[in-house]
């Protein structure tokens, strides 16, 4: 684990050093090429702006309304009735949130970890969930939007399938490893 952490610490500085130096040795006009490439960054940023705003507004209004807490509140008796840990219901908002918004999910996960303790079942499960699946819905709308794709075909279903698998496997592996 130490090695991996070191790699991620060194990766960016080394790339920043090696690419320009090696490119220079290969007779690339480094500064001019860098600037030419950087110009694309601005265009892309402006192009994805409307998609970002559209998604963020809808997600934020949904999250701030407290709808997720309501769902989890309703589910608690159901989970207890099924003989499961009623605390388990508190993971549902995170599972719904994860594909929608990265920062939103991080907020929910942080709250769960602080409330139940980082080394509790819920804490470990929330950590694993947060670390694994990505913000499918958000990535799809922004990435497709940036190149003008309007018909996603089966992309969303595929992404959400991966998220559901991630959720199920997370519950299974956390139970298996820690309990």
């Amino acid at each position: 684990m130490k090695v991996i952490a070191e790699i991620s610490r060194w990766a960016i500085p080394l790339l920043l050093l090696l690419i320009p130096v090696l490119a220079y040795l290969r007779k690339v006009p480094v500064y001019e090429s860098f600037v030419a490439g950087a110009e694309e960054g601005f265009k892309t940023g402006v192009r994805i702006l409307p998609f970002l705003i559209g998604m963020l507004v809808s997600i934020r209004v949904f999250v701030d309304s407290g709808a997720l807490e309501m769902v989890s509140h309703w589910l608690q008796p159901l989970f207890a009735f099924l003989g499961l840990d009623p605390n388990f219901a508190s993971i549902i908002p995170l599972a719904i949130m994860r594909p929608l918004s990265g920062s939103g999910a991080l907020g929910v996960a942080t709250q769960l970890i602080n409330q139940h303790g980082p080394d509790s079942f819920i804490g470990r499960l929330a950590s694993t969930l947060q670390g694994s699946t990505d913000t499918t819905f958000f990535v799809l709308t922004v990435y497709f939007g940036s190149v003008g794709i309007k018909k996603y075909r089966y992309a969303l279903k595929l992404g959400l399938l991966a998220d559901i698998v991630g959720l199920i496997v997370s519950v299974w592996i956390v139970t298996k490893v820690f309990y």
């Binding site: 090429s33 970002l52 209004v61 999250v63 709808a67 969930l129 940036s146 794709i149 399938l161 998220d163």
Partner: protein, 193 residues
Amino acid sequence: MVNLIWLLMLATGIIVSALNGHIESVTASAMKAAELGVEVAIELIGVMSLWLGLMRLAEEAGFIRGLARLFGPAVRRLFPSLKPDSPALGAIIMNLSANILGLGNAATPFGLKAMQELQKENPTPDVASPAMITFLALNTSCITIIPATIIGVRLKANSVNPTEIIGTTIVATGCAMTVAIIADYLIRRRRRS
């Protein structure tokens, strides 16, 4: 489907806020989110310019082609519709590497760049190509080796062992990615026949 989800989130949010008696929070949330969108985009412009500038250097020095040649054979099997020397492959490999290493803000520029390259080979400009869908499935389910942010949260919450969830995260992402790759392959095969 996206239209419906977008509308559902917005409408549910407003109705629930009204039922909970804090309808005024909708206004604040919507305005704040719109502002945040601009902030995120501006930040992204900075990071994107940096990485795309660096990527141009790497391209002109021939490194991206070298990278594509090195990892290409494996990645190309997932993208049978792409030309064997497609420039999209280099960007896809860079994006996936950044994702695996948990370098989130380097991953996005390479990902958007990959989409632009994929769009150049897309015969139907407003419909997602199979290669794009494969790429996004990989991107969103990609194995994460270092979930750095959540380790930080655990550390702050006084966890006895903040990094103990690395193993479970790798297993969860590994399974999700495998299922995504297989499902994508099956869908593509069925659509072709």
